[in-house]
């Protein structure tokens, strides 16, 4: 099992039991299981129209999930991504008509700024990350509500041409899904081929050892939070482009979905293990569940209950039960 603790999953231990093989690859089995169950219930689940819909739902969630992945690899958590996405969605929706496409780099900068603030509080002042981001959540949620005036506002019909391109169908799937796939690829490259990626995993596996080995833990953690907030901001921009309006409550349940998909992918919440590719499979599972339930006519009010249970099960399967003396709070 030791070998599977490295960031990528390519080192397969010799003579592993079928059980550890199952646990290691459970993310694929769960995705296949979910998709086939919904396919049996409703064969049109895998029709082109339905797949286009599912990929359109997946697109904004992917950057958010991949972003929070980086924070989870370091062993921290960011509870604020939903609120950051809401704020980004509101700002984009309100200003895209005036600023045009410059809104995208502006929102990226917004994400960088938020990430630096959160990351510095966690890494420099050494505050617990969940409390910092819980506070950040309340700040950005309030900002989203105040800026939008409490309700969602549509982008004017005349300005719709500015945002319609994102929903265009390219090679059979929405353009925004291809962009998200590009972001997953970028995350994968950061994880596997850069010093930053290696440092992030090293901190998650053993922060003290990483520091002694010369990793700049303060800078690396801040960078992880920055990537996370940027991912959340991209997600928010995509929601604004997708819904063609500014919705202040869009991110409220998205944290749950993003974190469930990362957990389903097998990322350890204690840090040090995970991959963007596995997160992609997790997002497929989560969106299949929500879309499939929707198509099967299940009341959307069930969503919170279902995702709560999915999250617990996913985390339970992947938790480190082997190490008994580890104190987990």
């Amino acid at each position: 099992m030791q070998n599977t603790k490295t960031g990528d999953f390519r080192n397969v231990p010799e003579g592993e039991s079928w059980r550890s093989f199952l646990y290691r690859n459970i993310y694929i089995f769960s995705a296949v299981l979910v998709v086939s169950v919904f396919y049996i219930i409703n064969p049109s689940f895998l029709s082109l129209y339905s797949i286009q819909n599912i990929t359109r739902e997946m697109a904004p969630l992917l950057p958010m999930a991949c972003g929070i992945g980086f924070v989870l690899y370091t062993g921290c958590i960011d509870l604020s991504i939903g609120a950051v996405a809401s704020a980004a969605c509101v700002i984009t929706g309100l200003n895209v008509a005036d600023v045009g496409h410059w809104i995208i780099p502006m929102m990226l900068a917004f994400g960088v700024l938020i990430g630096i603030v959160n990351g510095s509080l966690v890494s420099r002042i050494k505050l617990p990350s969940f409390i910092v981001t819980l506070c950040a959540q309340s700040v950005y949620r309030a900002a989203a509500i105040v800026l939008s005036g409490g309700g969602s506002q549509n982008i004017a019909l005349k300005q719709r041409y500015l945002v319609n391109w994102m929903s265009a169908i390219v090679f059979g799937l929405p353009l925004m899904f291809w962009i998200s796939l590009g972001i997953v690829l970028a995350c994968l490259i950061i994880e596997r081929n850069t010093k930053l990626g290696k440092s992030i995993f090293a901190i998650g596996a053993n922060e003290k050892a990483a520091r002694l080995a010369g990793v700049d833990t303060v800078r690396t953690k801040t960078m992880a939070f920055m990537l996370c907030a940027v991912g959340a901001a991209i997600g928010g921009v995509m929601y604004a482009y997708k819904l063609k309006s500014s919705v202040p409550a869009i991110g409220d349940d998205k944290f749950m979905m993003a974190i469930s998909s990362v957990a389903l992918g097998g990322t350890l919440f204690s840090g040090g293990r995970g991959s963007a590719l596995r997160t992609l499979v997790g997002v497929i599972t989560v969106i299949s569940i929500s879309s499939g339930m929707n198509m099967a006519g299940v009341d959307p009010l069930w969503n919170n209950v279902v995702f709560g249970i999915v999250l617990i099960v996913a985390v339970a399967i992947n938790s480190e039960k082997g190490i008994r003396d580890l104190i987990i709070k």
């Binding site: 700040v139 919170n304 709560g308 709070k329």
Partner: protein, 338 residues
């Protein structure tokens, strides 16, 4: 030999000065919030003479019931270095369920006292499940309580299906109108619960075990404390506090919906941290909880008096909690909650 002596002295002196430093900092941690409370009260009274009027004070105390109850339960959780994010959901679930089971506007149920007991047991179950999952499956508490809280809120919405019920039972209407010494009954209930928890925390083996676990979990386990059992008990206690808060909130507002609990937990954590309870565990107590809750209530009341919009209030609280955590954080603790 002399050098050795001198070295030994230096080490001893170092130790003494370290202990003194720690004692000083803990003194600051205990008394700074009280001084802040007094200064705030005087300052607000000077700013607005209505602040210290009997009417406003009973207003503050009337609104204090729910935060005080939740904060009392959360004190135990924070003392063992854990966190419980599920209280909002459990509160909403218990409140909604009671509104549907007693005489109400939506259906013809009339379960009487069982209409309160059954939802509270359901709330306790959530604490029990959270505790067991945390201890057995070794999942970090902030993630598991986030999940159980979402499930509880989801079940609450499913129960009333987007059309919350208004509780019309006579005892609820009576309870909301009853006052004693100009202070509402629900505040007295909260204060009674607080007093019971004071005794539990300070005069029982369970209370001692809570402090021991928060201070050093490995040492507590080594000295024979059943850490798993105490942890589960703490989560059950916290969910009982959340359930009780749900009952009190329902008595106050009478509309059983999930938003009874929304935005209740965050102010409580603010209150606890401002009062001097450490998020890393082991430091804090009921006195700090009371002081912190009073500070929070006065601040909230003052922000209302000077007419700050509700959304800004939340953002201000978020900033305050960060500052308070920075000030109360013990540096160099290794087992800090992630």
């Amino acid at each position: 030999m002399k050098t050795f002596d001198r070295q030994a002295m230096t080490v001893a002196e170092e130790f003494v000065s370290k202990v003194e430093r720690e004692a000083r900092s803990s003194l600051i941690r205990v008394y700074a919030p009280m001084i802040l409370l007094v200064v705030m009260t005087i300052g607000f009274s000077i700013y607005d003479s209505h602040f210290f009027s009997m009417k406003n004070l009973s207003n503050i105390l009337g609104q204090m019931a729910v935060p005080l109850t939740l904060a009392t339960g959360l004190t135990f959780v924070l003392l063992i270095g854990r966190i419980d994010l599920s209280v909002e959901g459990v509160m909403g679930l218990v409140g909604s369920a009671i509104a549907l089971l007693v005489v109400n506007s939506r259906n013809s149920n009339d379960w009487g006292i069982w209409g309160v007991i059954v939802p509270i047991i359901a709330g306790l179950l959530f604490g029990l499940i959270t505790g067991i999952l945390h201890v057995r499956l070794r999942i970090a508490t902030f993630i598991i309580t986030y999940a159980t809280g979402t499930i509880a809120a989801g079940i609450a919405v499913l129960l009333y299906h987007s059309q919350p019920a208004t509780a019309k039972a006579q005892w609820i209407i009576d309870a909301s109108r009853t006052t004693f010494l100009n202070i509402p009954l629900i505040t007295w209930i909260a204060v009674a619960f607080f007093a019971v928890c004071c005794v539990i925390l300070n005069y029982t083996a369970f209370g001692r075990a809570v402090y021991a676990i928060g201070d050093n979990e490995a040492a507590a386990r080594a000295s024979g404390i059943n850490v798993s059992k105490v942890t589960i008990q703490v989560f059950v206690l916290s969910s009982f506090a959340a359930s009780l808060a749900g009952v009190l909130a329902l008595i106050r507002l009478k509309l059983g919906q999930v938003s009874l609990g929304t935005d209740q937990m965050f102010p409580c954590i603010t209150a606890l941290v401002v009062g001097g309870t450490s998020l890393a565990g082991g430091k804090g107590g009921m006195l700090q909880t009371m002081v912190g809750t009073l500070i929070y209530m006065e601040l909230l009341n003052f922000l209302t008096i000077i007419q700050v919009p509700a959304d800004y209030k939340k953002a201000i609280l978020g900033v305050i909690i960060i500052v308070a955590v920075v000030l109360t954080l013990t540096r160099g603790r290794k087992t800090i909650a992630k």
